[in-house]
Point group: C2
Chain length 347, copies 2
């Protein structure tokens, strides 16, 4: 079975269309195209009102104590849904511990954060707002802010009808999840999976075959080509401490199980070509280097330059089309709105 696909598409025995069909059939064992509608999420029915509210919240810097950072700051929708920094810079110019993952298609990940410590985006959204090195705010303060802005109070009432106190921190997170669920980016790879042979170049098809044959798809599979399942970084050979810092033991912090030391969620690879730098440490800027490291550390494989190039070409076919995002117009502060503070609290 191994090498079958690569051999298959290298041969001229089969006509182009038949080759593509065979590759597609095999790919569909591992991957799935993006859905054409906004995905449903658990315990949070998605409505237009919730999406609009969530968009406003996503862009609102007043969710941070300083008034400087919004969700958009580190999940920048102009640059692939991340911030293209090693690790994010937050409140007080502090550096975050891990590379910010893209928000694009994140709703389809099985869990959130590099260690999967949040079950879904509504749980995730509460993290950075409260993290001292990110937005440095508190749920209580966020609620005071939101309740001080009558337009938000109306928007929360429309998004969460029938609730006695809809303007609250939990609903903030749910609305943000609803907006983020709309950030789905169909890519040439989806067109290929959906039946368009011409959507991938020859190199990209060869890269896809290699991606499956070499075993990358054992971990990076599903609709997001990753984003589920936890694996030790350095399964075969541990990378150096420059790339895998010793202080960050990954999922061990969540499960306190020795087996989970240096275990991370397999990164979802959609839009990977536009979301450098790579790995939880953000230490690698070049996608070819990242592929080479993965092949060696996770699979014990040494790939040729040509193979690496083809896998990278395949990964580029995962760069999707952004849905158009029109900026919201946010309500102005009132007398009751807490003033921004740049102060760094020592805890």
């Amino acid at each position: 079975m191994r090498l079958t696909l690569t051999a298959l598409i290298a041969t001229t025995a089969l006509a182009g269309a038949a080759q593509a069909d065979a590759l597609r059939d095999k790919a569909l064992d591992y991957f799935a195209p993006l859905p054409s509608t906004v995905p449903a999420v658990k315990d949070n029915r998605i409505t237009p009102e919730k999406i609009d509210l969530g968009k406003a919240l996503f862009f609102d810097p007043r969710l941070s104590a300083s008034g400087v950072f919004s969700c958009y700051s580190c999940h920048n929708l102009t640059t692939g849904g991340d911030d293209n920094l090693e690790t994010s810079i937050g409140h007080g110019w502090q550096k975050g511990p891990r590379n910010a993952p893209t928000v694009l298609n994140a709703v389809l990940n099985e869990a959130q954060f590099w260690d999967g410590r949040a079950d879904d985006l509504k749980a995730q959204a509460k993290g950075p707002v409260q993290a001292g090195v990110e937005m440095a705010n508190t749920p209580a303060q966020v609620e005071v802010t939101l309740k001080s802005l009558p337009q938000y109070v109306d928007w929360f009432a429309a998004a969460f009808p029938g609730e006695p106190e809809p303007t609250n921190f939990d609903n903030m997170a749910k609305a943000i999840e609803a907006f983020e669920a709309t950030l789905i980016t169909p890519a040439p790879f989806d067109a290929f999976l959906n039946g368009d042979d011409a959507a991938l170049t020859e190199d990209q098809r060869a890269g896809l075959a290699l991606f499956i044959d070499k075993g990358c798809s054992s971990c990076h599979s599903g609709v997001n080509v990753g984003g589920h399942g936890y694996y030790p970084f350095g399964l075969i050979e541990k990378p150096g401490a420059d790339i895998l810092p010793e202080g960050d033991k990954g999922r061990f912090a969540v499960t306190a199980t020795v087996d989970d030391e240096y275990v991370f969620r397999a990164a979802p690879l959609r839009n990977v070509a536009v979301t450098a730098p790579y790995f939880h440490s953000g230490k690698v800027w070049d996608l070819k280097t990242a592929v080479t490291i993965m092949a060696e550390s996770q699979l014990g494989e040494t790939m040729s330059d040509q193979e690496v190039g083809q896998v990278v070409a395949f990964l580029e076919s995962l760069t999707g089309t952004m849905p158009p995002v029109t900026l919201p117009v946010l309500p102005a502060e009132t007398e009751g709105t807490p003033r921004p503070t740049a102060e760094i609290k020592v805890e």
Copy 2:
């Protein structure tokens, strides 16, 4: 003449429409409605290609050394075109010296910055990119960044056809000016000036009459209700050092003329109700307080609560409608793109 307008609209001798006409006629002596097309700017023909390029640059955090700040960071288009902070926070968590003015309608100001030290937006745009406390970058580094991104090179070529080396710092500024020229926000006040009596409430019309009668419109006039002309802050009575910090001598820094000590450009008042806090120091958050301080310090007038309320009502009629801004999709870094650095250089 003085008090005529206020008396006029308080009387019942004239029918509503005739009152409105008289107020409009007087108002048109001082103000002008926004144009219905993108304003032409000096030495920079505005084209769709230039606007698109400028929009990309406006949102691109890679114009800053850290990769954290773009023009949008302090001129946030979701919150009135400014950052709603006393003074902006920039590179290394440093605080800027003055409150960030709104970018909305700024193309129609006669000069830029609080001290008018930039003639126009293309001159202005170069300032924050290079300021150590803002984006902390250099023209040479910006050019290396832009030239490393093939998509930008194409966009510059399309926006500046026929130029041998179009991808340069000057053209960056020109393109940003072109995008910013599209940020025009027609308001109820424009509808009133254009002939719609019902566009302003009774209180807003009374406030407009007061604004003219009391003398506010001596400095805050023209299409932007300010934004041209330089006046000492504290013409009649100097505000306290909390609001007018002694260290910032305003236009004196530009002209080195003693007469220009504590002289600032009269603030353009469009969207003032959504762009707190106020004054170059950003020390006043409440618009009523700001109006009261202005009346006392510039006009030697003590206004009643009702009068202040009416002037504020008029100022609220300057809150305009944002043009829809759809986020650009920016090109991904290449091997040649300078990496972001959070380091604070000591000069």
